[in-house]
C-alpha cells in the first residue's frame, strides 16, 4: 500500500469531517482566510452565557485536506470547554491529536486554530469582555510571527530563527527574513507575514525584506 503523507486520523477527519456546517444565529463567528494559499475557514459558536462554555461549534472550510481535518479536530477539542480553556488550544495540540501533519502543510492547519481564537474574541467583543486596544510593539510582532509557519520544517518563523530583524516605527513594521528573495518559499512566507500584520489597527505598512 502506498504511503500517503497524511496519517490515518487526518484522512478519517478529511473524509468524514465532524461538526461541519453553519449555526443559524450563532453567538459568535469568525472567518479566517489566507490570500497566499487561498484557504478559508469559517467558525460558528454557541456559548452558554452563565458557564461561558462552548455548547455547540461548527465549521466550514474552503481548503485542502489539512485545513478540513484541522477544522474537524479543533471543533471536537473545543466543544464543551469554557472559553478560557478553549483559548488555550494550540496548533500543536490540534496537530498532535491528528497524529501529525507534513511540515509544508502546517500553514493550512493553523488557520483553523486562528479561527477558533478569532471566534472567541468575537464573542468577547460582543459581550464587552475585551480589554483596551494594545499598541503594536516589537513584542506584539514577534508574537504574531510565531503564527507564521516556516514550510521547510513546519515550525514557526521565530522558533526556526528565520526572522533576522524587526523594526516598528510610526506605523511601519519592517521584518527582515533570513531567506534569499528567490527561495522557493519566500513569496509564500511574505504573504503570510502580511496576512498576520497588515490588519493591526495601528499598522499602516508592512515591509518584508530578504537576506542580501
Amino acid at each position: 500500500m502506498t504511503q500517503l503523507p497524511y496519517t490515518e486520523t487526518v484522512m478519517e477527519h478529511f473524509k468524514n469531517p465532524q461538526n461541519v456546517g453553519r449555526i443559524e444565529n450563532p453567538d459568535a463567528k469568525s472567518v479566517e482566510g489566507s490570500p497566499s494559499c487561498g484557504d478559508m475557514v469559517a467558525l460558528y459558536l454557541l456559548v452558554d452565557e452563565d458557564t461561558q462554555t462552548i455548547t455547540d461549534i461548527k465549521f466550514e472550510s474552503y481548503g485542502c485536506a489539512s485545513n478540513i481535518a484541522t477544522g474537524s479536530i479543533i471543533t471536537e477539542l473545543a466543544k464543551g470547554r469554557t472559553l478560557e480553556k478553549a483559548k488555550d488550544i494550540t496548533w500543536k495540540e490540534a496537530t498532535e491529536a491528528l497524529g501529525g501533519l507534513p511540515p509544508i502543510k502546517t500553514h493550512c492547519s493553523i488557520l483553523a486554530v486562528d479561527g477558533l481564537r478569532a471566534a472567541i474574541e468575537n464573542y468577547e467583543e460582543k459581550h464587552g469582555l475585551v480589554k483596551e486596544r494594545v499598541p503594536t510593539t516589537k513584542n506584539v510582532v514577534v508574537k504574531r510571527l510565531k503564527r507564521v509557519m516556516n514550510p521547510i520544517v513546519g515550525l514557526d518563523l521565530v522558533r526556526t530563527k528565520l526572522v533576522d530583524d524587526i523594526e516598528v516605527e510610526d506605523g511601519v513594521v519592517r521584518v527582515e527574513i533570513k531567506l534569499a528573495e528567490d527561495h522557493q518559499f519566500a513569496p509564500n512566507i511574505r504573504e503570510e507575514i502580511h496576512e498576520k500584520l497588515d490588519h493591526l489597527w495601528d499598522v499602516e505598512k508592512v515591509v518584508v525584506t530578504y537576506e542580501a
Binding site: S36, G38, D39, Y62, G63
Partner: protein, 388 residues
C-alpha cells in the same frame, strides 16, 4: 500495475507502451556497447547504427536533417541547452536580451530567470485570458540586442496553443533566434521546420508513452549554440556523455506510434469530458476553447480547493492534477492561471485532466460522475457559494 486506477495525468508522465519496451530491450541486453566511431569494433558500430536510425526517424518527423537533432536527457535539459547555449554564444557578440512569456513551463522560465541574474535582460510577455500571446506585443518587444525568443508550442496546464508559425516569421524578420518548447505537442500536432523558420525545438519522449529521461533538441544548421555539457564529442560535439541508446530507440518508437487516428480519439474524449464538466454549476474552462491541446481539459470549480478534490478522486481511483497552491511544492498558485489574469480562487479550484493512449470513453464517464459527487460534497463543507 495500479489495479483499477484511471490515470488522467498524461501531461505529467505516461505509461510506457509495450511495443516501445520491446524495441528498447535488445539495447539493454544485447547491443549494449557504446556507440563508437565507424572505426570501432562491430558491436559499437551496431549501437551507433541504432542511435543514428532513431535520430533519423525523429528528425524526419520534424522535417529536419539528421544532424540537426540532438538527444538529451529530456525536455528540461533541452530547454536549458537552448536558452543557455544561445546566451553563451551570443551574449558577448550580439546582445543580452531574451524574450519569453509568463506562462512557460519551468525549464524555460527558470533558465531565463537564471540568465536574468547573470546580466541578461529578460522580457516576460503577457498573454490574454485564454493564454494566447499577442503578436504585435511580441513584434514591439524585439530589439537589436534581442538574441532569442522562446515561446512554447502549447501550455502544460491550460493547453493553449501558440501561433508558432507567425511567431517564427516575426523572429526571422527581426533577426532574433526562435526557440519553442514543443514538449506537449510533438509529434501529435504537426511542426515542420522546413516550413516554419524555428531555430530550436524542445521535444521529449515521456509524454507519448516512451521512456522517461530522453528528449531532444532540434538545432537548425548554423545556429550559434555553445556547448555547456562538457566531456566527450558526442551529439555533434554539442552535448557530451555516453548516449542513451535504448532511450533513443524507445523515443523513436514512441514517435512512430503516435497517429492522427489516435489523436482524434483523444480529442473526442477531451470534448466529451469538457462538456460534462461544464455542466457542473460554477465551472469554467481554463485556456483557449478551441486552440488547445487535443488531450487536455482544465476546469476551475468555484468554492472548492484542488488538493481536496484530488485526494477525494484518488480515493475513488482517479489520478488528476491541480493548479492549487496547496498542491504545489512552493505553496504558490499556478503561475499559468495567474498569468492568464486568473486569481487565487481560479487556481485554487483548477483541475487538469489529460488523456493518453490507454484511456477510454468509459474513463471519461467514470471521472465525470466521480468529480460531480466530489465537488458537491466539498461545496457542502465550504463557507462560500451558499448565498448565491
Amino acid at each position: 500495475m495500479f489495479g483499477d486506477l484511471v490515470y488522467l495525468d498524461n501531461s505529467a508522465a505516461t505509461r510506457l507502451d509495450e511495443r516501445v519496451l520491446e524495441a528498447m530491450r535488445p539495447y539493454f541486453l544485447e547491443t549494449y556497447a557504446v556507440a563508437t566511431s565507424q572505426f570501432g569494433y562491430s558491436a559499437g558500430i551496431e549501437s551507433r547504427e541504432a542511435l543514428e536510425g532513431a535520430r533519423e526517424s525523429i528528425a524526419a518527423r520534424l522535417g529536419a536533417k539528421r544532424e540537426e537533432f540532438l538527444f538529451t536527457s529530456g525536455s528540461t535539459e533541452s530547454s536549458n541547452m537552448a536558452l543557455k547555449g544561445v546566451a553563451l554564444a551570443l551574449g558577448e557578440k550580439k546582445g543580452r536580451h531574451i524574450i519569453t512569456t509568463k506562462i512557460e513551463d519551468f525549464p524555460v522560465l527558470y533558465s531565463a530567470r537564471s540568465l536574468g541574474r547573470r546580466g541578461f535582460e529578460i522580457t516576460y510577455l503577457d498573454v490574454d485570458e485564454t493564454g494566447r500571446l499577442d503578436l504585435d506585443q511580441l513584434r514591439d518587444a524585439i530589439q537589436a540586442e534581442t538574441i532569442l525568443v522562446s515561446v512554447q508550442a502549447a501550455n502544460q496546464e491550460i493547453a493553449t496553443l501558440q501561433d508558432i508559425e507567425s511567431i517564427a516569421k516575426i523572429c526571422q524578420e527581426r533577426d532574433a533566434l526562435f526557440h519553442t518548447d514543443a514538449t506537449h505537442t510533438f509529434p501529435r500536432l504537426p511542426l515542420n521546420v522546413g516550413e516554419v523558420p524555428v531555430d530550436l525545438v524542445t521535444v521529449a519522449s515521456h509524454l507519448i508513452h516512451g521512456p522517461k529521461g530522453v528528449g531532444g533538441l532540434y538545432v537548425r544548421e548554423r545556429t550559434p549554440l555553445t556547448k555547456w555539457m562538457d566531456g566527450g564529442f558526442q551529439e555533434f560535439n554539442l552535448r557530451a556523455g555516453a548516449e542513451n541508446i535504448p532511450g533513443a530507440v524507445g523515443f523513436a518508437k514512441a514517435v512512430e506510434l503516435v497517429t492522427l487516428e489516435e489523436t482524434s480519439r483523444l480529442r473526442d474524449m477531451r470534448d466529451r469530458l469538457t462538456e460534462r464538466l461544464l455542466g457542473i454549476p460554477h465551472a469554467r474552462l481554463n485556456g483557449h476553447p478551441s486552440l488547445r491541446l487535443p488531450h487536455n481539459t482544465n476546469v476551475s470549480f468555484r468554492f472548492v480547493e484542488g488538493e481536496s478534490i484530488l485526494l477525494h478522486l484518488d480515493m475513488r481511483g482517479f489520478a488528476v492534477s491541480t493548479g492549487s497552491a496547496c498542491f504545489s511544492r512552493s505553496l504558490e498558485a499556478s503561475h499559468v492561471i495567474m498569468g492568464i489574469g486568473g486569481n487565487h480562487e481560479q487556481a485554487h479550484g483548477s483541475v487538469r485532466f489529460t488523456f493518453g493512449r490507454f484511456n477510454t470513453m468509459d474513463d471519461v464517464d467514470a471521472v465525470a460522475g466521480a468529480i460531480t459527487e466530489v465537488i458537491e460534497k466539498l461545496r457542502e463543507i465550504s463557507p462560500l457559494g451558499k448565498d448565491e
